[in-house]
Amino acid sequence: MKPQPIILKVLNVISVLLFLAALGMVFLYAPLEATMNYVQKIFYFHIANAWVGMLGFIAAAVAGVVYLIKHDQKWDIIELAAVEISLVFFLIAIAAGSIWARPSWGAYWTWEPRLTTAAILEMVYISYLLLRQGIDDPDRRARFSAVYTLVGAISIPITFMSIRLFRTIHPVVIGTNSAASQGSFDMTSKMLATMFFALFTFSVIFVNLFWHRIRLGQLAQQVEQLKLEELQ
């Protein structure tokens, strides 16, 4: 088994340091929001998780398309890694959003269109994992997964668009706010800086985890190869 590359080891350390720095900025640097107080702090994690969640789903769709063109198993490994990691990040984003929603909207969950489409997006990729489980042939599994990722990716822009397509109470923190939205707030420059730092930090953490998961996939493939050689 190959040891971790040096760059990956460095990235591990950078990820931890950046995460600690982001925590520091959220709790020590960014000012306390007037009406929501400490609850607003979760916004930085909510938006950062949602961002990398989306990033992963888009990466998975791109990997799916490349697989269909090249028929190379490595793209299937990349696609699966992206979906698995994004699924977790997006779930954290939804949970963080619910914690934020309780004081803002008076409920952990509302059937507001963007929340609903976010839940649908999670369901698409849970279904993706169930699809993979049901297929033994690796080629067919990779093909069907790639096709389903592509079809599922249509849901991603819908999640973003839904805030414009339907009337909503979900705050539009970046861009024009709708008249009906609740829980929005004016960002100070320190808040904005903290948010962008959190986005950067979680992007680095995403790359780090993504790399580890791809590596794990490659190692699992090697184990399969060794098993087959043993049998033959």
Partner: protein
Amino acid sequence: MIAVKKLVKRFGLKTVLRGLNFEVPEGEFVALLGPNGSGKTTFLRILASLSRPTLGEVCVAGYRLPIQASAVRRNLGVVSHLPLLYGDLTAEENLRFYGRMYGVLELSQRINEILELVGLTSRRRDLVRTFSRGMQQRLAIGRAILHDPEVLLFDEPHTGLDQDACDMLDRLLREVAGQGRTVVMTSHDLARVEDLASRFDVLSRGVISASASCSTFTVRRWQADMDRPQTTDHRPSSIVHRRSSGFLNAIGAIVWKDLAAELRSRELLSAMLVFALLVILIFNFALELDPLTRRVATPGILWATFAFAGTLGLNRSMAVEKDRGCLDGLLLAPVDRSAIYFGKTLSNLAFMLIVEVVVLPVYSVLYNTNLFNPGLIVVILLGSVGYVAVGTLLSSMAVQTRTRDVLLPILLFPVVIPILIAAVKASSGFLQGLALTEVMPYINLLIVYDVIFTAVAYMVFDYVVEE
């Protein structure tokens, strides 16, 4: 006639064929022997254009695979251990369907000749599912030679037949092979094929490990030829005229086949209708529908009903294709894959619309609600198109998985929910008498979804059915 060089086929990490070389001159009958799992079926599926080679060159009937797959399919007949026939169609209807898929002209005359050849003229109007296994295999041979192919591939055609049926099949195989066709037949039983083949190749560990000619074959075949009346044409049947089966013609054939089979068995429509009515009844108990709730809940109940019943229909519609290997039969036809997708989509849409046509008046009567609103009809049509467009694609995938019984709704519902939301909103708008301008955004949304899902499904369907 068949030339294979350095063929490699991998399934993931597993290599099944390892640089296989194979050649068959025109008119020769080659038996491909080997134990179970040696790669015989994989090899034959590659020759049949059902599976793509990983590496190597494959040439069949003068055309290269996979680039000229359509031309290969036009000149190829395949008989496997599955008959590739529809159980709910008669023998004649099966041949008519495949004849249309291959663009056979003067089809009625050709069907008569084939039925005569395989000894099933008296059973031409009987459903294939009432046939014995031997009769199904004879009809499968008829199906394979219907378009007068130059090359025939037989994949263990004797599987599951008793001795008499095997003997009868052998006589038929000898007859169709003796008409100058090139034949490759796989078997794991030498005794079974020694009277048929002129050459025996042994496939072992992914390569041809041994090859031998049968000395007695030439004498026997010569004797058989001497006993047969001499004709100038090397194929005694009439010359089969073919045109390339057009895109629309293939779609029409698939829709005709699905509707004919369903109108006879009524399995799919009955299940969908009964299930739809049950859903409506359950909602009645669940929501205790007073007039106000009814007005608000009707669009949701209707679309939940259509979605659930639609899933049953889609599942069954594709399961029929997997039954008796019919999906391979469709894929072997020299038509564009998208014609198969659109044919199945149109059939599924027809089934869904039939159910909706029945459900709407029943719902109107049971809940005293007038649903005969032109706007609502348009919404139902648009919603159904989007639903079956993506549903047909996903059911083609689901049916090829181990968890096919449960997977379709799990795959389908998260993806079609956007369509269902738009359809419910638009239906609600029309039923509540809102102005058209308020409903139009949802109608537009439905149209956009329909176009996107149809386009994506059209683009990726190839990847779902190829190997």
